[in-house]
Subunit: 288 residues, 3 copies
DNA sequence: ATAGGTTTTGTCAAGCTTTTGTACAT
DNA sequence: ATGTACAAAAGCTTGACAAAACCTAT
């Protein structure tokens, strides 16, 4: 990703005009460079390192002192996430949320949204992060507080993106979490992706009684009803009513519960793939 | 937000022309500066500090006593930051753009978009600002530079919001500025509002030859063709072709040129009201 | 696949300019060559080996040390066609834009930005594509509509990447298209590359009156003023003022107009090479 | 403004290892 | 042709030093 590390210190010195001793000092003192090593222990630098040294020199020339110049040179890279892989960005976001650093998390999200489409941000960063957080939580590596905090920040952000999603001329989808289910981030994400395909969204939120969903569906005659549950056991108690709704509307079931495969035979679409793909699929079905 | 604190006192001294001793004295006596510190205890100043010292000197030169000058310099900054209400934010935005402060403008837009829908931001902030800027320019109160700079920032931002607006299942609208017309911000805004109502947008940009628009319309069979011109004289030369297109598609004409009333009888919709209202109106017309 | 192995070591030595001893050393130490053997045990080399030795020498000349040079020479053969090449992605992008498929184009750009630096995306994909589009347009193979549409999509994307480019402590550059010039994509790209080298950008956009540029330069005292024009005839009318600005600031002229060579003697830097190289050159000049 | 102490940072040195082109003996 | 040897060049680590720039307090 950063290009191959193939330059020894002498060559880097020649290219950058900085003596080898000084380069080593910068590495030791400021962590400006983290060269890989040859089997024998020689430092090997990549083109990205050449660039970083050039930046450092530029700042020095403008009067910024070495320690600060190094900070800037390092930061310049961190601040240009376009150069980093989505995975790296996800890690950044994860780190910020883990230490309850909301402003930083918001800033990362701002940048992400400036660089990529909403679809990609959701599919490559936010949702993978949520999955990972869930895994860590199961393994006891993430605290409840972290999970709450991260959910709060992300929910706020996603709902911000969602503002106005009920407006327009497209087909309508009613979205709701099954009774008892509190995890709605995945559902909101699904709504956003549908929205980006022109749909109108009516969002009933977490823990929606199935009767409410039924009533809304009767009233709005939506083109799609999306139900969502992470826990598989939410489905069983309402299976009967789900079948009934599926008789009158197109119904889809998302979240981990979809993977159990229940209800597939009853005309309920199971959304078990990734959000973007499923939204695209659903979106392109014939209206019913 | 204040920029990074990276300058040591010597560099600040060089840049501001004030001796280090005096800078320390100002800090101690008037609290003019509150530098962060390096791990070793060295003072670190930010670009904002440079500005504050410059202000202080300016006041001193005009004969204001040091204590008062410091007060003024501090106060100048306290006035700017963190307004919360939309109206205040609009003023902030205007102020930031007027003084070519791109980062500040972006931050304000970030906050605006966090609080309001795209529609509202456009209708209440961006478009009124553009109108006001135009007025000030006519009265000679705004420079060409300010107008160019602001357009650049806002265009980037609006096109950023537009990312992905071609996606989906909604009706399609082709958008273009008439030949010779370079002002496309109003058109982009209109496109965004249409988009928020579920439409798909195909955007041809400024200065689009009418033949091109015709060709695209034949090819894509859009539900709507929106043409845009600020200057009224763009309309006359292409009136004939406009009528022809209007015979085959629903055509709307926006921008100040719409107010002239030309073509109204030829089946061309004139969008002379505010963007949101007009987009809503157009959006709810029967398909043709 | 490697062609026939027919060259003895003496002949390979002659053709490659590398002594037989050294060739054997490279074989032993780095496995650079794996010659077949004659019945009598003589090494026999294939044309592919000649090429590999040539590559090795090339890397050595550029300062890469022997062990790493050998690695690169070997890898060039094994890994060349592996990763989705920029060329292929460029073709994808071109195809999507040609058929007015904005969402697809955005998705491709998302992927590009996820795996490459902004510099690389600009230098290897976006700018070559724009050049190619221009060529096709001249040959009548691309329509005006395609050109407009593609410009719009890319402008939005580039300006999105530009968010925050006014922030920081680096030197400042003022960017503007000469009066009458509307093609600003190249200039934005140049600004982005400068940005990635630590500069702060103030962007005045297309069609900027030279007086405006002059005024801004006086006010901001930038380290660099970059002017841009595709059409050569934009330069003549403002040559006098350009010289004047060049007397007070470092001035660079980019775009196809730079290739005409005008003004070179008047202290105006001509940016006629590729964007990345020129930005690097400009960026490393002494402050003035 | 000065005095006396501290931090920062580029440079150098000593002693040892790795790398690599070339040479030599078998 | 092979294998070994060798020596120059380039690197590595540790430690130290001194000039410049800063700090506080008087």
């Amino acid at each position: 990703m950063t290009g191959e590390a193939v330059l020894r210190i002498g060559e880097l010195s020649k290219r950058s005009g900085v003596s080898p001793e000084l380069l080593r000092a910068w590495e030791r003192r400021y962590g400006l460079l983290e060269p890989t090593r040859s089997p024998g222990g020689l430092r090997l630098y990549s083109p990205a390192d050449v660039e970083r040294v050039r930046l450092m020199r530029q700042h020095l020339e403008r009067g910024v002192a070495a320690a600060e110049a190094a900070g800037l040179a390092l930061q310049a890279e961190a601040g240009a996430p376009a150069a980093a892989s989505p995975a790296a960005l996800r890690d950044d976001l994860a780190a910020a949320l883990d230490r309850f650093d909301e402003p930083r998390a918001q800033a990362i999200l701002d940048r992400l949204l400036a660089f990529m489409t909403v679809d990609t941000v959701l599919g490559e960063v936010v949702l993978p992060y949520l999955r990972e957080l869930g895994d860590r939580w199961e393994r006891g590596e993430a605290s409840v507080a972290q999970e709450h905090f991260a959910s709060g920040v992300l929910r706020g952000r996603l709902l911000g993106l969602a503002r106005g999603w009920g407006l327009g001329v497209g087909p309508t989808a009613v979205l709701a979490c099954l009774s008892g289910e509190q995890h709605d981030l995945g559902l909101i994400a699904f709504g956003l992706v549908l929205r980006s395909r022109g749909w109108r969204i009516v969002y009933l939120g977490p823990d929606a009684p199935i009767e409410t969903v039924e009533e809304m569906s009767r009233e709005l005659q939506p083109s799609l009803v999306v139900l969502h549950a992470v826990a598989g056991e939410r489905v069983e108690p309402v299976a009967e009513q789900l079948r009934a709704i599926a008789g009158r509307h197109r119904v889809a079931l998302g979240g981990a519960a979809a993977a159990t495969g229940a209800l597939a035979d009853d005309g309920v679409l199971l959304l078990s793939g990734d959000v973007i793909a499923e939204a695209t699929r659903v979106s392109s079905l014939d209206p019913r």
